[in-house]
């Protein structure tokens, strides 16, 4: 019983589409009913959101490609300026149907130009009588472009007076997009996360040709048992599945176990997967190194992860600069005299600390401090006399450069 039904498209295509988008049938049928038939006007803009790898891009791509709808697919991260974005749309539109590649794109600086050129392109490609879909992936980047870009895209149908639908794909909700000045409200569609059952179903679909589907599905089951707690990203899971599958097959290849011998296979693979979770998944070691490890049967200790190299050697004064920065950022400036001078005079113990200072400074986080103070503390904590040489000053800026390592101290008061 097919779930997708639409009078405008042949049932065979719909069936094919259905097999390609498992667990997303309801969303697809919703989209189909919005799209309507080819020549019908569709909703001006649709906003689709959902968590990472919940199939937004994939579903849209397969949907548009299988039904052979005229469309333009643009990634907004890649087109980092509005000009690039608009030109990219036009280029794709030109190249879409006719294979003649346009050598040099028409410069398109403003949205006004874009609307004009867009209309021209539609006419030249004979697309007036069909709905054209403009899909903007990673649409959150649009917010960083000129203020008019997002509202204009939302009303592209109205502005061009053509049959066009803009589809925005994003990982964040519409409320984060809405400009202060108000805009046309798109149709909002939510792609929920895949459940564990869905993941199981989708991952099992692509089994390697040498092994049976059941065998692979049992493997996926084990894999999900280990990784589902930490990772629900479909792409990542697929990657991990491909990486570790050869290890899973090992007993079968060596004829120590049969394909049905699930328990034995589980015993073999489980510690391996756990190790993978601590290393490959965190990108402590790269996947190619992991594969080499599997082949060579080495101990994973041989390749140290990235975090094993956390030790940084610094020149003598740089170390003291860091210490001074730490002291300056956590101690109130008032106390400097007391801590760093030999004859600091008497201090009344009772009122020395003000009430709000009694809470641990570490809970409040580091505070900004002027450069002078940093250097003054440096001169007082280093044992021998330090001349204020250019080298010291350049070290300050160098430490500042490394300071990404110690972002807490990075609060300079400039």
């Amino acid at each position: 019983m097919p779930i997708l039904e639409h009078p405008a498209y042949p049932p065979a295509t719909l069936l094919c589409l259905e097999s390609l988008v498992p667990c997303r049938e309801s969303q697809v049928s919703m989209l189909l009913s919005i799209f309507g038939e080819r020549q019908q006007l569709s909703f001006p803009s649709i906003f689709i959101y959902g968590h990472t790898s919940s199939g937004k891009t994939y579903v849209m791509k397969t949907l548009l490609n299988t039904l052979q709808l005229p469309h333009v697919f643009v990634n907004c991260v890649e087109c980092f300026t509005s000009r690039l974005l608009l030109e990219e749309i036009l280029i794709q539109l030109h190249n879409g149907s006719s294979e003649t590649k346009q050598a040099s794109p028409v410069p398109c600086d403003t949205f006004n130009d874009f609307v004009r050129l867009f209309k021209q392109a539609l006419t030249s490609q004979n697309l007036q009588d069909q709905t054209v879909y403009v899909v903007l992936d990673r649409a959150e980047q649009l917010r960083e472009m000129e203020a008019n870009v997002l509202p204009a895209f939302l009303r592209l149908q109205e502005l061009t007076d053509r049959n066009v639908t803009v589809i925005l794909l994003s990982e964040i909700v519409w409320e984060m997009f809405r400009p202060n000045t108000g805009c046309f409200e798109p149709f909002i569609l939510y792609f929920p996360d895949y459940s564990i059952g869905h993941l199981q179903k989708i991952l099992s679909q692509n089994h390697p040709p040498e092994y049976s589907a059941d065998f692979y599905s049992a493997y996926i089951n084990i894999l999900l048992g280990v990784f589902y707690m930490v990772c629900r990203d479909l792409k990542e899971l697929q990657h991990l599945a491909a990486l570790n599958f050869s290890k899973y097959c090992e007993p079968v290849v060596r004829r120590e176990a049969k394909e049905r011998d699930t328990r034995k296979l589980w015993k073999n693979i489980e510690p391996h997967l756990k190790k993978a979770m601590q290393t490959v998944y965190l990108r402590e070691i790269s996947s190619s190194q992991w594969e080499r490890l599997q082949c060579e049967e080495e101990e994973p200790g041989q390749i140290k992860g990235l975090s094993a190299h956390a030790h940084v050697e610094l020149p003598y004064y740089s170390k003291f600069l860091l210490i001074a920065a730490y002291l300056a950022s956590y101690n109130p400036a008032r106390t400097d005299k007391r801590f760093f001078l030999k004859h600091h005079g008497k201090i009344k113990k009772t009122n020395f600390m003000k009430k709000h200072e009694k809470t641990s400074n570490h809970l409040l986080g580091p505070k900004p401090f002027p450069l002078d103070r940093l250097l003054a503390i440096l001169y007082s904590i280093v044992d021998n006399r330090v001349a204020p040489t250019a080298n010291i000053f350049s070290q300050v800026s160098q430490v500042h450069m490394y300071l990404l390592l110690f972002p807490v101290y990075c609060l300079w008061n400039f």
């Binding site: 697929q238 790269s286 010291i392």
Partner: protein, 713 residues
């Protein structure tokens, strides 16, 4: 233009380096202030050749040191896109997400050295792997747009380099119009690789050097300084197209590879396939350089203890930069040849002979003035003294002999130093330092055998066990055999004799052990109390007992080493004519390399004579001369004030100082009205001081300024 500075201020931007008329101008500079013309030419030539020698030597050492790292990197690049070339359709290949191969290159905190490393790296890659290399620096890439522009510019340019020049014009025109997007990059890559494929056989050599589809290598020189957003965007964008062209990233990391995880969120770092490569630590690097450049007889110029200490201190305390160390050494060379007229004799021994003979009378006088030579003369008999002090020919003869002596001294010094280092570097707590450079400094400073540390290390050496002692002796023999010194045959003989004696002892022990063993069997079964008792007895007996043969031999060995040290490791400044070969004005070096801007500024303003060298400015104590520049007068006056300075009082004082010399007539005229010119001069001086950061306008009192330095704040 942007700077790395944290504070606001004026910065000098040097114009991009142009081709200078090198030799001519530098030679002129060199000659300046030198009286002896023909000698200075010779000195300059010697200096140049020595510089060149040092440069090529250090570069070669560095290449050798980096070889391993580069080999690893090249094989990584080879591996990384092997699949891209084969276009496998395997199942795992399809299922795996395509990650960008990334090399995390940890280079250590010595940022100044990285430039050199990256330059040689890109050379190596260009020769072996791919012509498509882009080097990106953080300061050029504040945004993703700039990054793409830079990247495209570099890649398309490098393609031109490989090609014939006729296409250059066409490319240059089109580059401006090229869209800075990944698609244009991919199109370019496709056309570039196609072109190399369809090249005529004559041009084929380029493609045989590289692979079929050479990877595009993007090097991020200083990963830490890139903004997170730029990096993230770039990785995300390029990961979209990794299937279409082989991209490899190289991250240059100064601190630790953890930085990748703190810069890139998991969603982005999961797009990368990161492998770690680590360069040699800069301290090891320095040791090698010192070992191969300073601790050899290869270069005639030597550094005295203080100078070496200054260079090493700058390295350890400030920058960890090997390049700076080498530059410091080169500065020493220039300074030595520039300031010391006798430095013409500082050359290889073969050349020195001729130069000694052609010394002018002036130069002979210079030799006679050397303190070490005077000491030498005083130790001679009186006739010889007269001859040395009056006849140039006998002086030349003596100088030549002394130079030869010095050369022999050096030939012996370094091998023996290494031998001593073999001993001291394995002692507990390293009384004479762990590194050979520390030992070298100690030996140069004064007679090392008179120091406490030496005494204690000898004590410790007398307690070494046999196997250690034997391996050390063997090492010493190796060192001495491989060194060119002439007097070492005898020493080697002696050391070998020690070794055979140890061998004999061992045999003797074995025999004795067999006889003793049954007794030991018995002892094993005793309880704790008995054991303690026997141990105590043993101790007693040892105290009273005579030294065993082994101990005697050990004492002999240590004494022999001691005698070698006393004979050969005499400090250099006890040697006659050491001034010619040793550069020892550490203060000059410190002034040049470890500049103190604040102090320099203070001297300039407080004592303008030190820079302007005008006789009129020669100050006579603390008084303020009115001939000094206005800013100096204003500065000196402001030093006398507290935190807040009243501008009116300051002006008053200023005008008093300026008009002081003009005598009583002027004084009468300028009753209490300040001259307009003086007023203007004062205002200019004050604003200059403000620009230099000494004062700033205060909000508390409008007619006051606040001091910012020294007693201010």
């Amino acid at each position: 233009m942007s700077t790395r500075s944290l504070s606001k201020g004026c910065f000098v931007f040097k114009p991009s380096p142009k081709r200078r008329k090198v030799s001519r101008t530098t030679a002129d500079y060199f000659r300046e202030g030198n009286s002896d013309l023909e000698d200075s030419e010779l000195r300059f030539a010697t200096c140049q050749s020595l510089q060149k020698q040092v440069k090529s030597e250090t570069e070669q050492i560095e290449e050798e040191l980096n070889e391993q790292l580069f080999d690893n990197l090249v094989s990584f690049l080879r591996r990384s896109h092997s699949a891209f070339q084969e276009k496998t359709t395997e199942w795992t290949w399809r299922m795996k997400s395509r990650e960008i191969p990334t090399a995390a290159l940890v280079l250590g905190v010595n940022v100044t050295d990285h430039d050199f490393t990256f330059r040689s790296l890109s050379e190596v890659l260009q020769n072996n792997v791919t012509p498509y290399i882009a080097l990106l620096e953080a300061k050029d890439c504040p945004g993703i747009k700039n990054l793409m522009q830079k990247l495209l510019g570099q890649l398309m340019n490098c393609c031109i380099d490989a090609d014939s020049s006729e296409e250059e014009d066409y490319e240059q025109v089109s580059r401006n119009r090229v869209r800075c997007s990944m698609t244009s990059l991919i199109n370019w890559y496709e056309s570039a690789t196609k072109r190399t494929d369809s090249e005529t056989p004559g041009k084929k050599r380029t493609s045989s050097r590289h692979w079929q589809s050479p990877p595009v290598v993007v090097i991020f020189k200083d990963m830490e300084s890139f903004t997170t957003k730029v990096l993230q965007d770039f990785v995300v964008i390029s990961s979209q197209h990794i299937g279409e062209f082989p991209l490899v990233l190289i991250f240059g990391i100064a601190t630790s590879p953890m930085i990748i995880h703190s810069l890139l969120p998991h969603s982005v770092s999961s797009l990368l396939c990161i492998e770690l490569f680590q360069s040699l630590s800069c301290k090891d690097h320095l040791s090698t350089i010192i070992d191969k450049v300073l601790l050899t007889t290869q270069f005639p110029l030597k550094l005295s203890e203080k100078v070496l200490q200054v260079l090493i201190n700058i390295f350890l305390y400030h920058d960890f930069s090997v390049q700076n160390f080498i530059k410091g050494f080169q500065l020493c060379i220039v300074e030595h040849f520039h300031s010391n007229p006798l430095s013409i004799l500082c050359c290889q021994l073969e050349e020195a002979k001729g130069r000694v003979n052609s010394l002018s009378h002036n130069q002979c006088e210079n030799v006679r003035r050397l303190p070490s030579f005077r000491r030498y003369v005083e130790s001679q008999v009186s006739e010889k003294q007269i001859a040395l002090l009056t006849a140039d020919s006998s002086l030349k003869e003596a100088v030549w002999k002394l130079l030869e002596d010095l050369n022999v001294y050096h030939e012996n010094y370094f091998p023996i130093l290494r031998c001593l280092h073999v001993f001291t570097s394995s002692l507990p707590k390293y009384p004479l330092g762990k590194q050979i450079r520390e030992l070298h400094c100690a030996c140069l400073e004064n007679r090392v055998w008179e120091t406490e540390e030496y005494e204690s290390s000898l004590q410790l050496a007398r307690m070494l066990n046999k196997s250690d002692l034997v391996t050390m002796l063997q090492k010493c023999v190796e060192i001495l055999v491989s060194s060119p010194g002439r007097e070492f045959d005898e020493i080697v003989e002696k050391l070998k004799e020690f070794l055979t004696q140890f061998q004999k002892l061992e045999e003797a022990y074995q025999e004795r052990d067999e006889s003793v063993s049954p007794q030991k069997e018995l002892q094993k079964k005793t309880n704790l109390f008995n054991l303690q008792k026997t141990l105590l007895e043993l101790k007693e007996s040892r105290r009273s007992k005579k030294l065993t043969k082994f101990e005697m031999l050990r004492f002999e060995v240590v004494d022999y080493i001691d005698s070698l040290v006393r004979r050969y490791l005499v400090p250099a400044d006890h040697k006659t004519l050491h001034e010619i070969v040793y550069f020892n004005t550490a203060s000059v070096l410190r002034e040049h390399l470890n500049a103190a801007p604040r102090i320099a500024l203070h001297t300039a303003l407080n004592n303008p004579y030190s820079y302007l060298k005008s006789e009129a400015l020669k100050s006579d104590g603390g008084s303020i001369s009115n001939k000094a520049p206005d800013i100096c007068i204003a500065y000196k006056l402001h030093l006398e004030c507290g935190r807040l300075i009243n501008l009116v009082d300051w002006l008053e004082a200023f005008s008093t100082v300026v008009t002081a010399a003009e005598g009583p007539t002027a004084d009468a005229a300028s009753s209490d009205q300040v001259d307009d010119v003086i007023h203007a001069r004062f205002i200019r001086a004050v604003s200059e001081l403000e620009l230099l950061g000494f004062i700033k306008p205060s909000k508390q009192k409008t007619d006051h300024v606040a001091r910012l330095t020294w007693g201010g704040c």
